[in-house]
Symmetry: C2
Subunit: 383 residues, 2 copies
Amino acid sequence: MSTALTDLCRHPIVQAPMAGGAARPELVAAVGEAGGLGFLAAGYKTADGMHEEIKRLRGMTTDRPFGVNLFMPQPPLVDRAAVEAYRERLAGESASYGSPLGEVSYGSPLDGVSYGSPSAAVDPYGGADDGYEAKLAVLREDPVPVVSFHFGCPSRAVFDALAEVGTYTVVTATTVAEAQAAEAAGADAVCVQGVEAGGHQGTHRDDPQADGTGAGLGLLALLGQVREAVRVPLIAAGGLMRGSQIAAVLAAGASMAQLGTAFLATPESGAHPLHKQALTSPLFTHTELTRAFSGRPARGLVNRFIKEHGHHAPAAYPAVHHLTSGLRKAAAAAGDAQGMALWAGQGHRMARELPAARLVDVLMAELQSARTALSGGTEGSAS
Amino acid sequence: MSTALTDLCRHPIVQAPMAGGAARPELVAAVGEAGGLGFLAAGYKTADGMHEEIKRLRGMTTDRPFGVNLFMPQPPLVDRAAVEAYRERLAGESASYGSPLGEVSYGSPLDGVSYGSPSAAVDPYGGADDGYEAKLAVLREDPVPVVSFHFGCPSRAVFDALAEVGTYTVVTATTVAEAQAAEAAGADAVCVQGVEAGGHQGTHRDDPQADGTGAGLGLLALLGQVREAVRVPLIAAGGLMRGSQIAAVLAAGASMAQLGTAFLATPESGAHPLHKQALTSPLFTHTELTRAFSGRPARGLVNRFIKEHGHHAPAAYPAVHHLTSGLRKAAAAAGDAQGMALWAGQGHRMARELPAARLVDVLMAELQSARTALSGGTEGSAS
């Protein structure tokens, strides 16, 4: 490995790629200028849309490194009936928001005909493979400093191709086995995502059988195990909101800490104002993992939509995402947070409405205090 | 507050009280001699049984401090039908292990007639209140250095009475609100228990409505929030197995780290040999929270019993505990780990079969390394 993860930028702080608009170039640029590592989110975008954002970012930042996050293609949808049953269930939502439910592409993304399905024409996002190959082609032709992958692990050929153009690669893992698979395939680093994380869990294969209560691994327990199972550098993610928590994951073996919800609340984030507001609103007391909006487990503030539909949503990503996409936009347009996907990590109440660069500074100051306290043996603020 | 938490012992390491036999005096003595703080578990014992253990511990240790953990009385059982349905469900288990299902006390522990139920005579553990008042009486008459509480928070009068006899008090909390309630009632410290923890979650009020997927708070996310919400010292618990993880929770504001599963595997622990072995056995790949054995969410290695009955178990603690108590003993006697309650935290695979005192030494050495690495800016072993 030529580049160490921490050589990429000044501070051990990563701004999580948040697909759906939050991680826009303004945010990535601000984090980069402040010495952190920002990520653009290519998920749900076309390859061209992703490329436009990269160019826009380059226009507003200096030569600071940044990353682009890709969603991995998903296995073919097997349970069409479950999706159609969920569609029927959501008919009332469609009527009340005056928004039609989305078309679902039933073409298989893995059989090489992902664009051949009848509904591909109405799906601007490239169906179940999220335009993966097209995005990779762009990133090979016009390389970026870092590329990370969510929902799975690419083949060695992909890592080799990105290494050839000087791109540093990261794969998200939610288990020890996933981290080992990423290292074995050739990833330069692993992003260790605890169950506390907001938005989608990056689980490589979505398996409803693994949904047991409390089955998801907490960040610190997972990090400890992954640190002993792989040798590549680790980025720790999940519920981190303060510099003291960053110090914690560094002490436990991570090289960097990745924060999403903390940056979601900044003015540079493109999250909907209602989403930002909801993070600290007394209306929303806790988060859950739900398939209600996308078909894959994702953590969001518990609202009416999750309460009413969460238990009925099938394991059918990204079919359910496309199904509910219009509904969520309509809910946002109507100013109804109860129908939006309010992705948030377990630390959401600690969100601070600071400019992103200022947030990076504050986090670094907190990190330094925690480091000093720990080395001085001052164990806790009230001991 | 006269005594700081960290003045109680040399090292910031607490051995978790593990009810059911693991936290026997041999273990508590070994941890105390090594400079940690050991806990006896009074849960499921009679007041006399608890007192005998305290006296036995005093006979084998010097003047090292130790703690005793009490279960809080539970609200009256409301859904008798659900318990009886679960009893019917377990009839096959009863037949195959040749062990009758236990009697359940339906007396209300809170209406002052907890011993007045017809079945109290066959329940040696004092029914749903776990002999709480009797145990408190013993602890007031023959004080111990530390008393901690699980499953709820005592009244201020209890804290006052214990403070009067010089006992330091701790309450387990799984949410910010529970930590605040403990501080307000007069607890000297709060044990912050993440969802990663093995055995019973110390949730103050068991509410099946709060069972949403991924609803339990990860330790680091919870610790960060509690640290800002209360002023008392914090003990961090949940999935901790290495000194680097102890360093992590100290960095995040805890004064001490509490480890259960790590000590479960030591020779001094009274856990069943099959239970110890199961922690690192390839037969058991993961843990879940389940009501299958006790009626309250507790984390254990997923085995046949949890798979078959977990989803059907009612929220009826301790009724279900008494129902399945004989079954679990019979399974253990038959050498069948698939029918035992294999309590374990999410870090179970990292268990080390070291003597308890040696484990404390190793943890302290790891903690010191992590401290040095963090203050020197060596962020992670492979960066």
